[in-house]
Symmetry: C2
């Protein structure tokens, strides 16, 4: 990808909600563009990251047996009346409106009202259970406080999985598998998430949130400094300063955090009103027991930026970086240009996705942009490096650059040998 041709370059302009670090850095680096509060366009670089996160989520959901489907965002009122949620929480959360013929619609902010009657079409017998379906799709919320960039949107990317079970035990087993899958997802995306007990609703004492500890978070949690057992402040039975009831050793602290996922035992909250049942081994009708499991890929993206940045810009984890290498030239000499052009092709041929800043711009401007954009590797070709028959290579996360022989740089990036100190 040539930077000169890229749609969505770096900018000094900060968005209106510049109090949010993720919105500021992602906008300035040319990853997103704010259309209005809580609503963003993903530019080419931003969309690459979003897709990588979605793919990590997809792989882990497939690994626990989730089957991908795609439900609509446009919902009929009737389904939400069945659950009672058309009026409560109603317009507090949902965009609701009329179409032709006075038909009333809402925009999906969750999909229990759609997936439960859908499941009813296909679940008849105990042989059809357990089963789990998920989708990755944009959701909508009539959000009062959309000032946190990608952390709280009126429109946002969501992965929601729903599981269906013959009994509570089957749900509990799958719930544990899903929880483990969630921790793998966050780890793969470079987030250190902890499991936090939260309000459980009618069918379970607790639900579980996945929280990333950061001072920029909106959530307040009480967490053990030792074993990291945690509860959301809203429901906490533990108190800051007290001793952890789990490990009996650590002290409980209050911390701010970003919620990046949650899992919930629904029980028969939705199978009851939608009459979702199955016939058991003895021929008797039984209600289906459900669970739901949510992760917001766009919120994960914002959280990664909140956690992984420095004064110069973003530091993308390798696993979800839009591209791997930022290649740039300093100086206008012909052999500098030619070496960089040849290396650019070689990198792509070696499967190393490379952004080539081929603009005529000051050294300072190019280096600042590379820091802001935050790709994991930076390669500089200049008159100085060519004199040493090499290129300058630096990891974004490290201070010091090294000179590497031009013919060795691909090995170095791929993690092989060939590194040479300057």
């Amino acid at each position: 990808m040539r930077y000169s041709e890229l749609f969505g370059k770096t900018t000094k302009t900060a968005p209106h909600d510049a109090e949010s670090t993720n919105a500021r850095l992602l906008t300035q680096a040319g990853f997103i563009d704010q259309l209005m509060a809580g609503v963003y366009t993903f530019l080419p670089l931003g969309l690459l990251v979003l897709k990588r996160i979605q793919q990590v989520v997809r792989e882990e959901m497939d690994a626990i047996g989730g089957q991908e489907i795609l439900m609509p965002a446009l919902h009929p009122k009737e389904h939400w009346n069945t659950s009672g949620r058309w009026n409560d929480p109603g317009k507090e959360v949902m965009f609701q409106f009329e179409g032709r013929g006075d038909k009333e619609f809402g925009l999906g902010w969750t999909h229990e009202e759609i997936v439960t009657p859908l499941a009813k079409r296909f679940i008849k017998s105990y042989r059809d259970l357990p089963v789990a379906v998920y989708q990755i799709q944009d959701k909508f919320r009539n959000e009062p406080r959309a000032k946190s960039g990608l952390l709280r949107g009126r429109e946002f990317s969501m992965k929601d999985l729903y599981s269906f079970h013959a009994n509570q035990e089957s749900l509990e087993n799958f719930y544990e598998e899903a929880s483990a899958a969630y921790l793998r997802i966050f780890e793969r995306c470079g987030l250190d998430a902890i499991v936090v007990e939260a309000s459980g609703g009618a069918f379970a004492k607790y639900s579980h949130e996945f929280q990333v500890l950061t001072e920029h978070g909106e959530d307040h949690i009480f967490v053990c400094e030792g074993c990291r057992y945690a509860q959301n402040k809203e429901i906490a039975e533990i108190t800051p300063g007290g001793k952890c009831p789990k490990c009996k050793k650590g002290k409980i602290e209050e911390q701010k955090a970003i919620e990046v996922g949650n899992i919930f035992k629904l029980g028969t909250r939705f199978s009851d009103p939608f009459e979702l049942s199955y016939t058991d081994e003895t021929g008797k009708k039984q209600p289906v027991v459900m669970g739901c499991y949510g992760i917001g890929p766009s919120r994960v993206l914002g959280s990664v930026v909140e956690v992984h940045h420095d004064a110069g810009g973003i530091l993308w984890p390798e696993s979800i970086a839009p591209l791997s290498v930022h290649l740039l030239t300093l100086g206008k000499e012909e052999d500098v240009r030619e070496t960089a052009e040849a290396l650019y092709l070689e990198l792509w041929e070696a499967g190393i996705e490379t952004l080539f800043d081929d603009r005529e711009l000051s050294a300072g401007g190019k280096l600042a942009d590379a820091d802001l954009i935050g790709l994991p590797h930076r390669i500089i070709v200049s008159k100085k490096t060519l004199e040493k028959k090499g290129v300058e290579w630096k990891k974004r996360s490290e201070e010091k650059a090294k000179i590497v022989k031009t013919e060795k740089i691909i090995e170095v990036i791929l993690g092989g040998e060939g590194e040479e100190g300057e």
Copy 2:
């Protein structure tokens, strides 16, 4: 994929708008589920096809230099006031509603009002032109007649590309490239589309539609039986029965067709109200000239079913089939089961995506389901085939099955040798 575990099996139930062939077959085959008129869930098999079509579109858009972005579906009223389209066509086409604080929103049915001010952020100079961006995203229409399955939806998948140019000549050149790319897309998806002249609006005599001739189409076009020069009936200057003005030989006929794509020279229709301009080589401000280019992947999916089916069900083209092989067993013998299980693993290892109908069901039921689902290849393992040390293999599009030696079947599917007549 094991059919016994698949969410979304075949059903005898036809949807409410059963007059539409695509809705009937896709529902009965377990590809889609109707939530309400014009709004469908894509089940696992349906989503696989939709993604394959989207990927074909993506590859061809990338090939002509399109850069993928993702714009929101939730739009602020202000942008649509700028173009004048908040009121005209307004609610005739757009779902419009209020959120918190009396803020007015609309759901995107097209994205000129979003992409033009976005482009204004990044296009300053002639050096920034030409540039083209596209997205693949769900669009919404307040549709009065949503009775054609996936052909006319209230919510539907859309690829829309927008191109930006310094002058008309640059637009004309790109327009031709885009037109050729569109024909490649339809060909790759198994659709024989023709280019049809249609109403051009303020800035061009014609726009161009891509139409698939079929008696199930909603559009009426006049087309030359010889060279296939065509005009939409709505604007036609040619008349049925007359001689073709292009090839001077063929006769003009009236035909029904499905519109699967359209391309449009917008000129400065949107750059004027949004004041999208650039500085030319002489330092003078000039308006940017725009084009737009749409294909609906979900409509393409519906069109493929309208064109490729028989009395038994769907006939998927190889290029977009959800999976390649439908493997099934007839009879309950242990060696039949074991042979099929082993072959199932071998097929996947060879990269041949296979649906394995491992249910205990009558031969008739399994064969009817294979026809309905319509995967390109069918393999049967039975006592009879094992006696001949082989499996029965048939292409969905062909009448006659053959016995192929078990160890040769993968070669045969991959197009190698090893075929043997029965």
